[in-house]
């Protein structure tokens, strides 16, 4: 065996919600039997963003807020890789907001996991975009990432999980990764992952979560009804979790970006580039188009 980068002990505070997600990801990867060397985790910057160090897979520690752009780059360069992006809510919804909204549009088949704790853990507890009014002087209404995700009519996979329930989380992560494996596009999971040091919401959230699947008429393939049900739950003071969007069927048309661009799954990183005539066809055509 070639010795290479091993998982290192976590640097998180004992009890951090992120441990729940870490465990669920590990279980999901085992269940799916994807070889470690074919999995890439692109981490954000933040407590949560360090997760790639604690797993024995390939890691790319991105810049703060840029993990989605880097993850898309990885996936399009080599569509054979299983790609997971994972980071914090500050990383994803503050500095990363532009890429976040565009990730739905781009619709490349990878999984984005946000460890949502309403705060910037690593910089010591400031309000993140999801922080409630009043938290650390916050006066802005919290950003709702699930509604934002639901708003864009692209057949992505959207869900919310809770670190206090790692079993359901594992199930949903497995579903999301299968969705990716089938080349059906982008999967987004917001995990409610309390920061026990700066915003310990474990108890509060445990009381408040409601799985939308338990509501009558729930239909994750219908954005309108989900939007309405979600708002109703929120207005009743509770927190919706569960699968928020799951396209009805495998669409006949190819929807995922990597399949549209690279239908035979050979991409920039796994194509040959030596100077052979075959690899010069594009050059010849381009040259011919020059006056």
């Amino acid at each position: 065996m070639v010795q290479s980068a091993k998982a290192i002990p976590s640097t998180w505070c004992p009890g951090c919600g992120d441990f729940g997600l870490l465990a669920a990801v590990k279980k999901a990867l085992i269940e799916l039997k994807v070889p470690q060397h074919q999995t890439v985790l692109v981490g954000g910057i933040g407590c949560s963003g360090g997760i790639h160090n604690f797993l024995e897979i390939n890691g790319l520690h991105a810049l703060h807020g840029r993990l989605l752009a880097q993850a898309v780059g990885v996936k399009l360069a080599n569509p054979e890789l299983m790609v997971i992006a994972a980071g914090g809510d500050g990383d994803g919804y503050a500095i990363g907001m532009g890429h976040f909204m565009h990730a739905f549009k781009k619709n490349a088949s990878f999984l984005y996991l946000v460890m949502m704790n309403e705060t910037y853990g690593l910089t010591k507890g400031q309000a993140s975009p999801t922080a409630p009014i009043g938290f650390e002087g916050n006066v802005e209404r919290p950003f709702d990432a699930i509604l934002a995700a639901l708003s864009q009519p692209v057949p992505n996979f959207v869900a919310r999980t809770f670190s206090g329930d790692p079993k359901t989380m594992t199930k949903i992560i497995v579903e999301a990764l299968r969705f990716n494996q089938e080349g059906r596009g982008f999967a987004f999971i917001e995990d409610l992952s309390p920061c026990i040091t700066y915003n310990d919401t474990f108890k509060l959230w445990r009381e408040k979560v409601v799985d939308l699947a338990t509501l009558p008429g729930n239909d994750p393939s219908n954005r309108s009804t989900t939007f309405r049900q979600y708002l109703e739950v929120v207005e009743s003071g509770r927190i919706p979790i569960g699968v928020m969007h799951r396209p009805a069927t495998v669409s006949a048309e190819v929807e995922s970006l990597e399949l549209k661009l690279l239908p035979d799954h050979i991409g920039p990183a796994n194509a040959g580039i030596e100077l052979s005539e075959e690899n010069l066809t594009g050059y010849r055509k381009l040259l011919a188009s020059v006056r």
Partner: protein, 602 residues
């Protein structure tokens, strides 16, 4: 498809009676075509360029447009010469003006024996050397569409310069072959209308003829095209960018055929996304590039630093335009050099490579890709608007001897034989062996935090010192592999000239003028901006009394860089700058140099 023929028997259109004797044969001429955006000036210039090109002449085609889509002054100049030329001609033999402003703006550039042709359906001029023909009215009345005024004007010019009718027609066919048969027909008719009107005009006897050149196999190409071509040949397969003048064409060219070669070309949501997509793709093992101009470059600052720290090989092409800030998007400048040499917080190695010609754009793009992967760091291809967009006669590229050098990239078999795989392995030259994610048996960690050899975050002090040195010393170990400068001119000259990028053209023209005047010079064209190849520059500086660094910016950025790198030679390094948005012309540069003979520097 049947298109009307230009009567080849019409001798008058070939050699017709010249005013004051037989037509003067020109071996180096220029035509300036000016009008409002939308007047089709670019089309006239393009047609002329195609004609000259077919006649075996060197062509240099430059344009001056505004950052708006229609309206506003726009002009184009076409230079054609028997000898190689890559600069705008100082004096125009012919100016074609579609509006009054273009005539006024053009006049200072008119050669003493030059002529202005203007659209008399748009305005009237009393200038003695200006001749009006109602281009728009002619096209309107005879073709029903005044919009053909531009091809009509081309027809007039073709008459005046004694163009070969068959070639004149071939140019139109070449240009409009992909349009509708109707468009082709109308354009061919418009030429006829123009030629006829010219033949009938008392003052418009053919006054010049154009020498035939001997070029063959050349193409009129701009730097952006050559970079795209180099990228494809050099194994580049991933491109992400965001539209910005004057860089957009690289993305557009690549978008045409790269996707058919397992390549990916993406227009991203912004420059932050482009550079980070490129980083992700390069991490995964693709040769990846983005291209941009000043504002986008500034936004890529953090990403470039990430590539430097994390040791991910990327290529960033910067098509410099006029700054600061949004500046003048369509105009020429070379003012990002200092920014790029120092770009990013903290310290990390980067190479800044600058081609001086279209060919150089092609070959150095390939070199840059090889260098990036060999040294695992960001390489910046420093271009400029004139280089990127001006059409230039370019010889065929020679693919022999080119290679795709993947540096220390390991195959899966090589990896299997390793004891340990470390993305940041310490090595004598600072560059570590690489295997892409997906290689069986290994996993790797890659990060912009300080890290140990395995890529795990580390705050260990000796490790920090070693990792800094590992990265930074690439700048020393790579020196012998970086593109050498080129020297032009008289080896024994005591006056030196230094420049980079498209300034090569004006400098070489200035050298010729100076040589003709009895002042020999020699010119060092710098192709690696950073790290400064002092071993190649010091001997040059030592061999001259003074070296004028000619560049397009305010502060003399290259001069400052060289002074800082070789302070012991600072007295010899003199700065000549221009920052008004336009390239130097040869004689203008000569004047600037001559004005400098006594005292130094601005």
């Amino acid at each position: 498809m049947s298109a009307p023929a230009i009567p080849t028997a019409d001798r008058s259109s070939q050699t017709g009676p010249a005013v004051g004797g037989s037509p003067k044969e020109l071996t180096d001429l220029a035509v300036l075509i000016g009008g409002q955006g939308g007047d089709g000036t670019l089309t006239v210039a393009d047609l002329l360029a195609r004609y000259f090109h077919r006649r075996g002449l060197y062509v240099y085609l430059s344009r001056n447009v505004l950052s708006r889509i229609r309206g506003g002054h726009a002009d184009s100049s076409v230079r054609a010469s028997v000898d190689p030329t890559t600069s705008i001609k100082s004096e125009m033999e012919l100016i074609v003006a579609f509006d009054a402003q273009s005539l006024e703006l053009g006049l200072p550039e008119l050669a003493p024996d030059g002529l202005v042709l203007y659209d008399s359906s748009s305005f009237h001029s009393d200038r003695p050397n200006a001749i009006g023909l109602p281009f728009a009215t002619l096209a309107g009345s005879q073709l029903g569409q005044p919009i053909y005024k531009n091809t009509t004007a081309y027809g007039v010019v073709s008459y005046l310069l004694g163009f070969d009718p068959a070639e004149t027609r071939a140019v139109i066919e070449e240009r409009f072959q992909r349009r509708s048969p109707e468009a082709l027909e109308k354009n061919l008719k418009a030429i006829e209308i123009g030629r006829k009107a010219a033949a009938e005009h008392p003052e418009l006897a053919q006054r010049w003829s154009v020498a035939k050149g001997s070029l063959s196999g050349y193409r009129i190409m701009a730097g952006n095209q050559a970079v795209a071509l180099g990228f494809v040949v050099g194994g580049g397969r991933f491109f992400a960018g965001y539209p910005i003048t004057p860089a957009t064409e690289i993305m557009e060219y690549l978008g045409r055929y790269l996707p058919s070669m397992h390549g990916v070309v993406r227009q991203a949501e912004d420059e932050l996304a482009s550079i980070n997509m490129v980083i992700g793709a390069a991490y995964a093992g693709a040769r990846a590039m983005t291209s941009t101009s000043g504002p986008g470059l500034s936004l890529m600052t953090e990403g470039i630093g990430h590539a430097g720290a994390a040791e991910i090989p990327i290529l960033v092409a910067d098509c410099q335009r006029v700054g600061p800030s949004t500046g003048q998007p369509t105009r020429h400048e070379q003012s990002d050099l200092s920014h790029l040499v120092h770009i990013g917080h903290g310290e990390f190695p980067r190479f800044v490579i600058s081609p001086g010609s279209i060919e150089d754009c092609f070959y150095l793009t390939i070199d840059a890709l090889n260098l990036a992967e060999r040294w695992r760091l960001p390489v910046i291809l420093l271009l400029d608007q004139a280089l990127c967009q001006n059409g230039t006669s370019t010889p065929p590229f020679d693919l022999n001897g080119l290679r795709v050098d993947r540096g220390k990239r390991l195959s899966a078999e090589e990896v299997a034989k390793l004891e340990a795989y470390q993305y940041y392995k310490f090595t004598p030259d600072g560059s570590s062996p690489y295997a892409p994610p997906g290689t069986p048996g290994i996993t790797a960690q890659v990060t912009g935090n300080e890290h140990d050899e395995f890529g795990h975050v580390s705050v260990n002090i000796p490790n920090r010192n070693k990792m800094m040195a590992k990265r930074m010393e690439k700048l020393i170990h790579a020196l012998p592999e970086l593109p050498r400068p080129r020297t032009f001119g008289e080896p024994t000259a005591r006056i030196g000239l230094i420049a980079y990028g498209s300034t090569e053209g004006p400098v070489r023209e200035a050298q010729e003028i100076l040589a003709a005047k009895g002042t020999p010079t020699k010119f060092l064209q710098i192709r690696t901006i950073f790290p400064v190849l002092t071993d190649t520059i010091v001997p040059f500086l030592e061999s001259v009394d003074v070296a004028y660094v000619v560049e397009h910016n305010y502060t003399g950025q290259l001069a400052a860089l060289l002074r800082g790198a070789m302070p012991e030679h600072h007295k010899r390094i003199q700065s000549i700058v221009k920052y008004d948005g336009f390239s130097f012309r040869g004689p203008e540069l000569v004047a600037a140099l001559e004005g400098r003979k006594n005292g130094p520097v601005r």
